[in-house]
């Protein structure tokens, strides 16, 4: 057992080092590679090829990696009949093309080897327990990074991943309130709106403000804040509104919160479109030209950190009190838990992260308009929470990726008319996707009453033990 593990560690380390060293060493080797390709040529180069070669060299000088890759692609495809690209040169080209991905893969393998080595040395077993989930997370992030490099950030897969990560954060923030504290709130879209607007207003480039606020003389705000600061402000602004709403409403015993938050979301949507606030909110016009991100990793990292924070809160003494309030208010109060304080805390925290989710959504969309933040958006998120399982963080995360993928991607084909031969497939037309989608959702809610995860969390231990059980069963049978 131990022997195999040590062998694995050594193997991983060697692979990792090889990957890292090799992918880094070919980083600046393209000009030399081009020369070697010249030397190997079997026919003389024509003008067209020479021009393509020059274009590659020029883009190297410019330093724009995506441009280099594009020109290189064009050049090598022109060479295909004259040069054997399966040999050493081909390998080097492959490493050059996928350099960053391979470096990332190497780093991940190295981390895995270190984690395994630590697990072997770790006597107390505390690290051994934490290592698998941490490695799983690292694997997901490495995978996303590599995928983005391979399929490009404009692909449908990346779009789904981006939106899925953002919705995951918002769903988890809603779950904190509805699933973990037992407070039914329907204001998520409102808090997202506040977050999105706060972020957008503070990050529009000063120079482009006259263009964006063209009907309002360039707007009132005449400075620009860094993106991360604005994201923080987006959360704080949403939290502040939650604080105000909570003051009267959270003292009431029953479900007034749902009505109050729903009303708030509707009102805030109207207020932000109000012409009188135009110098700040741009009235009913779009906000645009604010700072966005250029890699999918950005929303992944921000959402990941926020979800991790929420999970830490849930498992802290405060989170335990939230769950106590959900289970039995009277008993919780009798145990010295101040109901109002703790409900307020949960509400404000939940809204804070919904605000950050709103900011990320603004970045994803690259434009913001208040009219889009309808209560339908809240219901969509509520649906994700229910499908994932009230009271399960991992459930919300998984459900949000599935939900986004199904609604944006997997069911897309249902919206297009299709012909098989001369036979037109019935029902397939624009709008049919939403019908099927609703049916699927209904089926999920019917057959998984408590959502995919119930109130449990995804755990690697449980998964592996179930898998090995199944294997054992097969052997016996």
């Amino acid at each position: 057992m131990k022997k195999t593990r040590i062998t694995l560690i050594v193997l991983f380390t060697l692979c990792a080092l090889a990957l890292i060293i090799f992918s880094l060493s070919v980083k600046d080797s393209l000009p030399g590679l081009l020369d070697r390709m010249d030397a190997e040529q079997t026919a003389t180069q024509d003008d067209k090829m020479l021009k393509a070669r020059d274009r590659v060299l020029e883009s190297i000088r410019e330093g724009d990696r995506s441009k280099i890759l594009r020109n290189l692609e064009r050049y090598t495809s022109g060479w295909a009949d004259r040069l054997d690209l399966n040999g050493e040169i081909g390998l080097e080209l492959f490493f050059f093309r996928n350099g960053p991905s391979l470096t990332a893969l190497g780093l991940f393998l190295l981390a895995a080897a270190v984690a395994m080595a630590l697990s072997v040395l770790d006597r107390k077993g505390r690290f051994r327990k934490a290592a698998p989930p941490l490695m799983l997370i690292a694997a997901v992030y490495t995978g996303v990074y590599i995928l983005e490099n391979v399929v490009g950030s404009d692909s449908m897969l990346m779009t789904v991943l981006e939106k899925g990560a953002i919705f995951a954060l918002i769903a988890v923030s809603m779950n904190l309130l509805n699933g973990f504290t037992g407070l039914f709130s329907l204001g998520q879209a409102g808090f997202m709106l506040i977050g999105a607007y706060t972020y957008a207003i503070f990050t529009i480039e000063t120079g482009t403000r006259p263009q964006v606020y063209q009907y309002y003389a360039g707007g009132l705000v005449q400075f620009t804040l860094p993106a991360l600061v604005s994201i923080g402000l987006a959360g704080l602004a949403a939290a502040f509104f939650a604080f105000l709403i909570g003051l009267p409403v959270l003292r009431l015993k029953s479900d007034y919160l749902a009505i109050a938050t729903l009303g708030f979301a509707e009102i805030i949507r109207a207020v932000f479109q109000y012409d009188g606030l135009g110098p700040i909110t741009n009235g009913s016009n779009l906000l645009r030209k604010f700072a966005t991100y250029d890699t999918v990793l950005f929303p992944f990292v921000i959402a990941g950190v926020c979800i991790a924070l929420i999970a830490l809160i849930i498992n802290s003494t405060y989170g335990r009190s939230f769950k106590a309030i959900r289970d039995d208010e009277i008993a919780a109060e009798a145990m010295g838990i101040n109901l109002f304080r703790h409900k307020q805390m949960a509400f404000v925290i939940s809204s804070f992260f919904a605000g950050i989710g709103g900011a990320l959504l603004a970045m994803y969309q690259t434009t913001v308009q208040a009219a889009a933040f309808t209560s339908a958006m809240t219901y969509e998120i509520l649906l994700i929470v229910v499908i994932g399982g009230m009271g399960s963080v991992t459930g919300s995360v998984i459900a949000s990726f599935l939900f986004v993928a199904a609604s944006e991607w997997w069911l897309r084909f249902l919206d297009n008319e299709q012909m098989i031969g001369s036979f037109q497939v019935p029902l397939l037309r624009s709008g049919f996707r939403m019908v099927v989608f609703s049916v699927v959702i209904m089926a999920v809610v019917l057959f998984y009453r408590k959502g995919i995860m119930g109130d449990r969390e995804l755990s690697i231990k449980r998964l592996t033990s179930r898998l090995s059980l199944r294997k054992g069963g097969l052997k016996n049978g």
């Binding site: 003494t317 405060y318 769950k323 106590a324 145990m335 010295g336």
Partner: protein, 279 residues
């Protein structure tokens, strides 16, 4: 005169037209086990709820170690509706929520068990240590309070050992048998580090053996944690066995009080329990 641990002064609790507790005055001294008994619907639980802040009494006062923790008089509509027999009302109005009263050192259990259903035995007790935290949201989230957290967990394990539930600590609270759930509720109340423990029918649903061991158990924890105990109970054997003094109420009104043997032979008490009253 040493001040009482708990003192009820002319407590009246009226729901609409129903006077559930009528002019109840009583006191409990340091280290005593005092029982409140009476037929079904006599108003015992309501009296408890007035002390622990679940209800604000219509009229009357509660003092804890001489400190006024509850005080009220009929106001508004209640002024005309008021039907209690006590016509003199206190001038002050003092209202405390249950959590604040628990923080003062009064902890209770519930007649119809109220455990945190989705939580394990261990977590149920752990939640009750929350009120002693010195951490805030930030330090608790970032686990800067790990030392306090570890102490809390150790304290909870100790408590579970005392009540004999250490082996069941990872089970779901509601999966325990009835008797053990009652013990768990007591452990949870103890985790708030009370000075006065209020038990609402701790033996309800227990079989005779369990009831016997409960009597011993209550005496043990009383000594171990230097508690004063205020108890509502229907099992007469248990009450007679462990109480230092007994108060008897019927239809919300105090009809007798004294040492167990005095109360046992009181004709009013026998009438109330046998229903010989003209009512």
């Amino acid at each position: 005169m040493a001040e009482h641990v708990l003192e009820l002064k002319h407590i009246t609790m009226q729901f609409g037209g129903v006077v559930a507790v009528d002019d109840l005055s009583m006191h409990i001294d340091q280290g005593e086990i005092v029982a409140l008994i009476g037929p079904n619907g006599a108003g015992k639980t309501t009296a408890f709820n007035c002390v622990t802040g679940v209800y604000t009494p219509t009229s009357g006062q509660v003092l804890y170690h001489g400190r006024l923790i509850v005080s009220n008089r009929p106001e508004g509509r209640m002024k005309t509706l008021y039907a209690g027999s006590q016509k003199d009302h206190p001038a002050e109005v003092v209202v405390n929520t249950p959590d604040r009263i628990t923080k003062l050192g009064l902890a209770r259990t519930f007649q119809n068990i109220r455990l945190f259903k989705t939580q394990t035995v261990f977590e149920n007790v752990l939640i009750a240590t929350h009120l002693h935290r010195t951490s805030n949201l930030l330090t608790a989230t970032l686990r800067l309070n790990w030392r306090e957290e570890r102490e809390m967990r150790e304290e909870v394990l100790n408590l579970l050992e005392v009540v004999g539930l250490k082996d069941a600590r990872d089970e779901l609270a509601t999966s325990l048998p009835y008797g053990k759930q009652r013990r768990l509720e007591i452990a949870r109340a103890l985790a708030t580090r009370p000075k006065l423990l209020l038990l609402d029918e701790p033996a309800a649903g227990m079989n005779p053996q369990e009831t016997d061991s409960l009597a011993l158990f209550i005496k043990q924890i009383k000594d171990r944690f230097a508690l004063t105990v205020f108890l509502i109970e229907h099992h007469m054997d248990l009450v007679m066995d462990i109480s230092d003094r007994i108060y008897v109420i019927d239809f919300g009104r105090l009809i007798a009080h004294g040492a167990p043997h005095e109360v046992q032979d009181d004709p009013d008490v026998i009438n109330a329990y046998l229903g010989v009253d003209e009512e």
